[in-house]
Symmetry: C2
Subunit: 486 residues, 2 copies
């Protein structure tokens, strides 16, 4: 049995660069992050993945708390007539809504949508709760599961029929209040993604075509995966008064007049776990940034029967010592696996640092410390271990972000026309071009290529492009990034 | 507008003792815990309620972490054929399952159940993951939403068609391992309910009739509400090999033989919020135990124009000072509400301590501190405030549990036959009787009364009853509690 098991658990059998899709599939399974289920398009988030999500959640909660965003929970089900109230919204979501029509053996009076997002159910309550300017701003979020029954090929984490997220829904008395939130939310997402997940993305405004169904505008951070495809990360939607009018969310202002509110919505989802796996991993498996790694250090005693007792004792002592300093530490004292096999396994799981401790080290009062990100080994005196671990983890965190930045930077190619764009995208690049930001131009682009879309537009360049659009005869207004998306 | 609002937000208009159901309905709404939605039987958990749930979650997570229970997330949907594998389980749940048969406009190949509980979907994965004795024990839980489409009258928190919970599913190589977990889980629930929620319940074993669908036995803590009805609190189910056989969860043991595993499941849910409201509240509204109160202290400056600036400054200073000591503090500096109105509002929300600060207090460097649980007022020197607040909160926590214990104790009535039982239950008491613990006897009891059931059986008395069953001719085997349930 144990022999069979060892074979089953061997490393990833393909190169990341040569066959990314197969690499990704093996990487998340072999690292024990997730597994397929009998429900097509829905995976199990195993504890190793869920712990990472919990860390993202913890960091986000801390920040939302400071911004006075309350945490609520609204029903999973949305009556059909509520979903239908905002025309663009229902058009955007209804093709992928899972419907409940029956409970037990009883047909329900009205179909219930399994929430693809919660605007419809939340705003019906908001319209009851908000009466006066004193009730504003109203800021709520919820951490929940949503279902979007995609008919395209599902990919665990990246395009899943059910996923977890936090969705924020904030309401303001005036436009300025709503617009002011844009920067604080987008800064928060960028902070968490860069400084915790070590992921650099493209932050900008989505085109008219690609904005959220029902929004006035959408901002996003877009991430490039090693296969050249783009995954949309966290976002922010300014809804203006669109939903306020559809769901009748009004208040009496200080001037005694009745007015519609202004609203925002924003989210970050478990999709980021997919980006994390894809961007940082290598042929050996995951590489996790220390700040969100479930374990930051794994200690592996190199077991020789003669020294076993001592080695185990020192292993436990080291663990305790490092945990006291706030590090997350795992020990692997299994006796039925060889050290080399263990090294591979913990590399596959992306633990940032490995500590090896053998009889030789024990004698010299040192350990061997190995970095997951670059494989570098060094001997460290046990006396200085805590300090050294901190330095190494900080450096790994920094290097991973730097690597992600460089990869992104090197993948951007400025293009002047559709042909250049298609060539660039086919080579896995992100196209960058002067653009008119017109719906027809984007539709035309999608048709004439194999589905290339705008990703978003860097905000500091909006209104600053001069000359013609790269893809049509109109005047350019913006610069934008283009590519194929998940 | 503000006048109208003030009228709307007046206190609870009925007495708890005279009309509990109406009191409950007003209490949770006026304290801003929850609100009804257009989805019948499903409420919004507003931030004030969700924060309490989050505290329960935090405490539970800490304990589960120490017990090495990993946190996972399994799909919301369960294919019908998986749900059907365990006969008793499907029989127990299928009458209240919400079914998804369509996504967008496409009819699905197989109906999907919205999870009423996750055994079926989890154990299908477990059967893939567990191969060897080295994979055991496997301990996972998930914090999620579940749907049980009850056709009885729904009551927010207490009997809700959707609720939040943690469900734990643990797997062991032998019966002993599984049975050993019973005490640690039940002790954990009792600790959280008594020492955090300040709720005393009846801990015991459920009857054959009332055990979980698919379990060998069920343990529970049962809570009496002021209307005499009983709500089942957290529980523990020992499943033996029932699910193992249905879902084929097998492993190769050390002796190289293939064996079925032994399993437990256990849960605590948002139903406890309902018990919390119902048991502790009084005619003025909620009373929250300090350990789980979102705010432990509210500071209300008694505003006089002349001293406003000073008062606000001192209010903020006090808040800071108390927060530094780890207390959760709210200030209410709204100028358009009178102090008396504010007192009522924060009483309705159950904040354990109110601090009043007026010009007179300011001058003397004291504050007035008022306890929510008994209304007692006292002047406290600002210098000693932190120490005094801690003493008072500790005492409130203790008194609430004591009160809950006394209420429970006084509600138990020993009965000798069906008539005495019915009389007792009709007076809002819990019946306590010698019992045969037979399925037919319990069925008979339910038929002959208006639905009285066994609640559970204190474990230290199991097998210790002598003489005849109180309700039939058989020999008594146990002592049991009886009542009507939510």
């Amino acid at each position: 049995m144990s022999e069979k098991k060892k074979t089953e658990e061997k490393g990833i059998t393909v190169k990341k660069e040569k066959n990314f899709n197969e690499w990704y599939t093996q990487a998340f399974q072999k690292a024990d992050l997730a597994d397929y289920t009998l429900v097509s398009g829905c995976v199990v988030f195993k504890p190793y993945a869920h712990t990472i999500w919990d860390k993202i959640r913890e960091e986000t909660k801390k920040r939302l708390n400071k911004m006075d965003v309350g945490e609520a929970y609204f029903p999973l089900f949305i009556p059909e007539k509520l979903l239908e109230k905002e025309a663009e919204h229902v058009e955007g979501f209804s093709p992928e809504v899972a419907w409940v029509e029956k409970a037990g053996n009883t047909k329900l009076g009205e179909r219930l949508a399994v929430r693809p997002t919660s605007e419809a159910i939340m705003y019906d309550s908001y319209s009851k709760w908000i009466r006066s300017h004193r009730d504003l701003p109203l800021k709520m979020c919820q951490w929940n599961n949503v279902v979007r029954w995609e008919f395209k090929n599902p990919v665990p984490f990246l395009r899943s029929r059910e996923f977890l997220w936090v969705e924020g829904h904030t309401v303001f008395a005036d436009e300025k209040g709503a617009l002011d939130e844009d920067k604080s939310i987008m800064d928060m997402w960028q902070d968490i993604c860069e400084n915790y997940l070590a992921l650099k993305g493209l932050r900008g405004k989505k085109s008219e075509n690609e904005k959220f169904a029902g929004a006035v505008f959408t901002k996003s951070i877009e991430y490039r995966l090693p296969n050249g495809k783009i995954a949309q990360g966290p976002d922010f939607h300014y809804d203006g008064q669109n939903f306020a009018k559809a769901y009748s969310i009004k208040f009496i202002d200080e001037d005694e007049k009745e007015k519609f509110v202004f609203q925002n919505t924003w989210a970050i989802s478990t999709r980021m776990l997919g980006v994390l796996i894809a961007v940082h991993g290598d042929d050996q498996g995951l590489i996790l940034p220390p700040k969100i790694a479930p374990y930051q250090v794994v200690i592996i005693p190199i077991i020789f029967d003669k020294h076993k007792k001592e080695l185990f004792k020192e292993t436990d002592k080291l663990k305790q010592k490092l945990e006291k300093k706030g590090f997350r530490v795992k020990t692997d004292k299994r006796e039925n696996y060889k050290p080399g096999w263990k090294f591979n396994q913990w590399e596959m799981k992306g633990v940032p640092l490995r500590i090896e401790l053998g009889p030789r080290e024990l004698e010299k009062k040192i350990v061997t410390v190995v970095r997951r990100d670059n494989g570098k080994k060094e001997n460290v005196n046990i006396k200085n271990l805590g300090k050294k671990i901190k330095e190494l983890l900080d450096d790994i965190q920094k290097q991973l972000l730097k690597r992600s930045e460089e990869k992104l930077k090197n993948s951007i190619k400025e293009v002047k026309n559709i042909k250049e764009l298609e060539n660039a995208v086919n080579k896995g690049k992100i196209g960058y071009a002067k653009w008119c930001n017109n719906v027809e131009c984007e539709e035309n682009l999608k048709d004439k290529t194999t589905g290339i879309k705008s990703l978003n537009m860097p905000e500091d360049k909006i209104g600053k492009a001069k000359g013609k659009c790269a893809f049509c005869d109109k005047e350019a207004k913006v610069y934008a990034y283009f590519g194929k998306t998940y």
